[in-house]
Symmetry: C2
Subunit: 386 residues, 2 copies
């Protein structure tokens, strides 16, 4: 196991009815900006629950934060924060609203030239302060509710970039599984696959003798495989919804990644597919991961075999045969929840591959758990998905 430091002070309020506890968590003496997305909170009753729970608080609203939240949109919110002297943010939505809210929180107090540098110059800019954030989660998927990560898209340059800071961890997150009851299939499926691949990025690397982290990761994968389809089949299955929701949070709150190598190459490539073609984040991951497993079958061999055996019961055949079967099983799982896994499925032309590899070339950036995946490997990964 590697050395590590871990601190996750996010308070989780989990279960049905927990939105009603908001008043215990929010500060009475602050001006709050309630952020939300495309308006689903008005249809599923969450907005009404939030309003009922926050009577007497000083709240203004900012809606319209998109999936893959736009820098351009978020900067409008930053202006409102400054004009209205907002000093607390309440995110009511899914991972995109919360990621966008984290960016607003950091940008509002950013002292550099241009807030886009928070993402674009991530390695140089260290975010030490941000407005405090609370969250009501309406979509289990990204894990943003219990971490300090965010991803933001700049439309003008077709860039999708991440940043992270302990300063943007929510002070609290309300996780009421009943919010899942009204989600469309597409969002549930995205959430299952997103959480699944968050685990894979922290698990499918190389062994460092960290059996507890492995078992926790495998526990989340098993639970997603078991409970995810139940949620898809019956949107009112509260217990399955709860198990799915808690799994998605545990998939990316930092815990399973402590003391082990992490990959995140699938995400880095996937973000480019979203940036160029607007494909849902989870779907880009489902495209890239099988290619990543295929191309990295040597480097990841031990962990792919362990994953294949413990998750899918694959223990017969040569290593290569077992790896092939394991990739097939992984693809079949994604397809079984309705997520397609090839580039043609999303009408992505072959030319996109060159655009993506050029971008990595320009950035001079290598990715993966050994930082040894460059443009050539990325080309192979994506060509395998044509």
């Amino acid at each position: 196991m590697y050395n590590f430091e871990f601190k996750n002070p996010v308070k989780i309020l989990f279960g049905k009815g927990k939105i009603a506890k908001l008043a215990n968590e929010l500060p009475k003496d602050k001006k709050i900006l309630l952020t939300y997305g495309g308006g689903s909170i008005f249809k599923n009753g969450v907005y009404d629950q939030v309003k009922a729970a926050t009577k007497g608080f000083d709240i203004i609203e900012f809606g319209g934060i998109e999936a893959n939240p736009h820098y351009e949109t978020l900067m409008k919110a930053v202006s409102i924060v400054k004009e209205e002297k907002v000093d607390y943010l309440l995110s009511v939505g899914g991972g995109s609203v919360l990621d966008g809210t984290k960016f607003i929180a950091a940008a509002a107090l950013f002292e550099g030239d241009e807030p886009w540098d928070i993402c674009a110059k991530r390695s140089e800019v260290s975010i030490q302060k941000a407005l405090p954030i609370g969250a009501v989660l309406t979509l289990p998927a990204t894990g943003s509710e219990m971490n300090g990560n965010a991803v933001v898209t700049r439309v003008s340059t077709q860039e999708k970039l991440a940043f992270d800071s302990p300063a943007v961890m929510p002070q609290f997150s309300v996780l009421d599984p009943e919010v899942i009851f009204s989600l469309p299939d597409r969002q549930v499926a995205n959430g299952i696959v997103d959480a699944f691949i968050h685990v894979m990025e922290q698990y499918l690397t190389f062994p460092v003798n960290a059996p507890l982290q492995d078992r926790f990761a495998e526990g989340i994968l098993h639970t997603l495989i078991e409970e995810g389809p139940k949620v898809l089949a019956n949107r009112n299955d509260y217990e399955a919804a709860a198990n799915f929701m808690w799994s998605a949070t545990m998939a990316l709150n930092g815990l399973i990644g402590m003391g082990v190598p992490q990959d995140w190459g699938t995400h880095m490539i996937g973000h480019e597919l979203t940036a160029y073609h607007g494909i849902d984040h989870a779907r880009t991951l489902a495209i890239v991961l099988p290619g990543m497993m295929d191309i990295r079958r040597k480097e990841k061999q031990e962990k792919i075999l362990q994953y294949g055996e413990r998750i899918w019961g694959i223990s017969e055949g040569t290593s290569d045969e077992r790896i092939d079967q394991t990739i097939s099983k992984t693809i079949a799982f994604f397809e079984s929840v309705g997520i397609k896994t090839t580039l043609p499925d999303y009408e992505v032309p072959a030319e996109t591959i060159g655009r993506i590899t050029s971008r990595f070339e320009e950035r001079g950036m290598k990715i993966g758990e050994k930082a040894d995946i460059g443009p050539k490997e990325i080309q192979l990964i994506l060509e395998g998905r044509l």
Copy 2:
């Protein structure tokens, strides 16, 4: 899954060399009381590492905190804290030193009549404030390094009682697995069994459809069974030490107990064996747990069968046969690490059983995950261990 609220802000610094990072975590402007136990920190080099890392800090020392820390001893520390205007506590030791330090932290700011009420009137007294605590852990076992729990013994009345408060969670805990290298077999074995039974108290109850919590619990049990004996066999096996240490922390930092019923009956009965006979905490648990499993085989049936199958591979025979085998396997594991499991092994006379049941009678207290274990059941549990 039940509703729950979870917040664990303890910062963990894990790995070899991490004691050297103490200066980054401790406040420069506070007067620190370094608390320790019987003096092993002077032999194993931990004291020297702590002193080297804290040059320039204003630190005084208080040693002699016993295993099962004594109220009488801790109150001496409280006097020193008040006289010397100490405003930060640094615990350097195992779970007992840290539990004792938590009590000092709460008692120093306690405004009631007598600080013993923190434990004795636990249900009435709510600890809202305490001195801040940092910890360097020298013995993996109790999980105290990442929770707000403590157990204190009052010698004058032979009482061993617990309290808990978020206010006594350490601000940080340093976990350097190298501290294990110098531990005697007895303490390693105690740590393995203590952590194992912490998991069991949160796992071996009744199912509430919380598969992720179950798998995390099972992951810790598997890891303790696998890595614990390696540590016993080779005290310098850093990797096994690290896996054992992280498992013990994860066993009782609250996470696996979220959303599920919890028992703690084995602990409540075990505490009485320590109070009357001074038996090591972990050993009392190893005595009581098999009796608890036996007497509660109906109430705990589903979870005992699941535990037997997933942990010990027991899947043949009637339910009762499988439960018997599962109890035998559990006892055999404890014995394999050198922990005896019957009352005669510790020369506890049969009369003690009556003294313990009278005490529960007097307190009018029922225990277990359904609060339905009273004196009669406790008598049966302990008689089974004669």
